[in-house]
Symmetry: C2
Subunit: 359 residues, 2 copies
């Protein structure tokens, strides 16, 4: 992996990544962020969680026409974009409209507790091709992405104020995506957010009793059943979990637990890339159209401790329950926290198993 670290004129970091050496003469891109990003956190005492407020985000770019794609590589100073022209594979840069940023300061007084919304929001552009898709990238470029997530986690850990790094991709207008150029995001939180925190507590309780990681045991049972498996290689697996909350929910993981991206062996990384590509191609093949989803990668918190109980994995939450019907989150999901799934995981696994994948 080759890296070029640049700074944009507004001070934001821009990192170019490539499988090949990157030329020295690539200038940073010129698009500037509006000044004054100063998000803050407020404590929600009833739910016991932080909420981030970033009021200036209301003005963020919204479904611009193709000629205004801010992720298109360009050296045009009149219509600047986030990425420079040049030979590289992927790029990571600070979000122009961060919900969390290292420069947050002086939160307002409130009747609930407040804090500066420290942390980091990064954008990961997967390819220079605005018409591309993560699943159509060559395998070694998907492996590169796994290496980039590892590198970003290391870099963000070094800051000292980040406790959790979550790479994710929102894909499709159905999940609110405002820019269709293939990209994901990385949120670096100054605390462990509620959902990974709950997972870690359940993983720790299981490990305490069983001395084996919870998800590794679950994957062992999925392998043995085979009923919901979409891909099984030597080192990685993709499956519809028996407890899927979304109809087309899929999990991707190494078969043997590793806590974080930087614990992956090259063999695990290569097989994870195969598992990931298989899922993405099956999704797009299912209805012969781009399949929207939220993909999130869970790893260990950054607290200086080893986490043998934590099992790095991705969860996909697609918004559709059938070809023409969305699954809306409503009363029972958003207000009670109990998901009601209209489909059996076994049925949806069969649908996805039946999609032939051609690489």
């Amino acid at each position: 992996m080759y890296i070029r670290e640049l700074s944009k004129p507004d001070g934001r970091k821009l990192n170019l990544y490539s499988r090949r050496p990157i030329a020295w003469d690539i200038p940073p891109s010129l698009l500037e962020a509006p000044p004054g990003a100063n998000p803050h956190l407020r404590w929600h005492p009833l739910r016991g969680e932080w909420v981030a407020y970033a009021a200036y985000r209301q003005t963020r770019t919204f479904l611009p026409p193709p000629e205004y794609n801010p992720f298109a590589p360009s050296n045009d100073p009149v219509h600047p974009t986030e990425l420079p022209r040049g030979d590289y594979d992927m790029a990571v840069f600070d979000n122009r409209f961060p919900a969390l940023t290292g420069s947050a300061h002086d939160p307002p007084e409130s009747l609930v507790d407040t804090l500066p919304a420290r942390g980091q929001c990064e954008v990961v552009v997967f390819t220079q091709d605005p018409e591309g898709a993560l699943g159509r990238l060559p395998l070694d470029q998907i492996e590169l992405l796994l290496e980039i997530w590892s590198h970003r986690t290391e870099v963000l850990e070094r800051r000292g104020d980040v406790r959790y790094v979550l790479p994710f991709e929102n894909r499709g207008a159905e999940v609110g995506v405002t820019l269709h150029h293939p990209h994901g995001q990385i949120y670096a939180y100054p605390f462990v957010p509620p959902i990974p925190q709950a997972m870690h507590e359940n993983e720790a309780a299981h490990f305490e009793l069983a001395r084996t990681p919870l998800l590794q045991d679950l994957i062992g049972a999925e392998v043995q059943s085979g009923e919901r498996v979409l891909y099984q290689g030597r080192e990685a697996i993709a499956f519809v979990p028996a407890c899927a909350r979304y109809p087309y929910e899929v999990w991707v993981a190494p078969i043997t637990a590793v806590a974080s991206f930087f614990d992956l062996t090259p063999g695990q990384r290569a097989d994870l890339a195969c598992a990931l590509k298989t899922v993405l191609l099956k999704y797009d093949g299912l209805w012969q159209r781009p399949f929207p989803y939220l993909m999130a990668w869970y790893q260990a918190p950054l607290d200086g401790n080893p986490h043998p109980e934590v099992h790095l994995h991705a969860e996909f939450y697609p918004p559709y329950r059938s070809q023409d019907r969305l699954k809306y989150l409503a009363g029972t999901e958003l207000a009670a926290g109990m998901f009601a799934n209209d489909a059996l995981p076994e049925e949806k696994a069969r649908e996805l198993q039946a999609v032939a994948v051609k690489w």
Copy 2:
């Protein structure tokens, strides 16, 4: 409040409610549920929560044309509906497609724990007028609804297998509503679901220290500030909470804590109806169009204990962040559990305060 309890031909319960006596000769309505509803629960070991599976729900009614409105009062045996003709205000009946039902039995074996999805899903039709809206009902009919929620909670508690009763309304196609005739739902869970459970834990921890209910203290601070208050009567209040997760989030509550609907005094109920109507009319007045939302009412769990720490209240989660933009729940909300709000609660409160309400 007058009640008529009927049984539909398929065995489902139908309760008619009215402010006036109900005639004896109203026949039950004739629409039948497809047989075989047998939902089950599976345990999600990573999240530590139950997920409900109700596969037969895939076939449920979806945005039918007006002439097929299944909530229109009708005695036509050829095109049966859920409601009979007659003089009554509201009706509550068992959902045809329940995610939870008392007759659930023999859950399938799985590699995760399973249970029958016991409990109850009820539909509450707010008015016989398919073009009506909860906020446009007369005040005493909104008071009736608060009495109905109290009665349903009592009835469901008597079953013995219900631990939590959540009345809610999903309103608008934006939140996935499949039938536009004004109605809400009641979910009666066989356990306390994760979100009310977390609230109760935070309320109990606060009460242990302060000897006062958490939300009552929060409301005291909101009253003192006044900045986000939308309605304040002698007994009830409506406000945008300082820790709002959704841009137009509003909470409605009695000013003094009561644990459950059946603890409300007539004075509190009357003022809560005013607070609720005010919020609903402000919502619809904001952009002069029906305002979509999820409204959920939180009350104490049904565990036989008094709950002086619990404070009955409603939370509204509207899906819009501005007149033409939806707030999508994506990576940070659904995968991490940290909400990022693009708007300050103070700004959104000012917008709603500025909406004049005419009754």
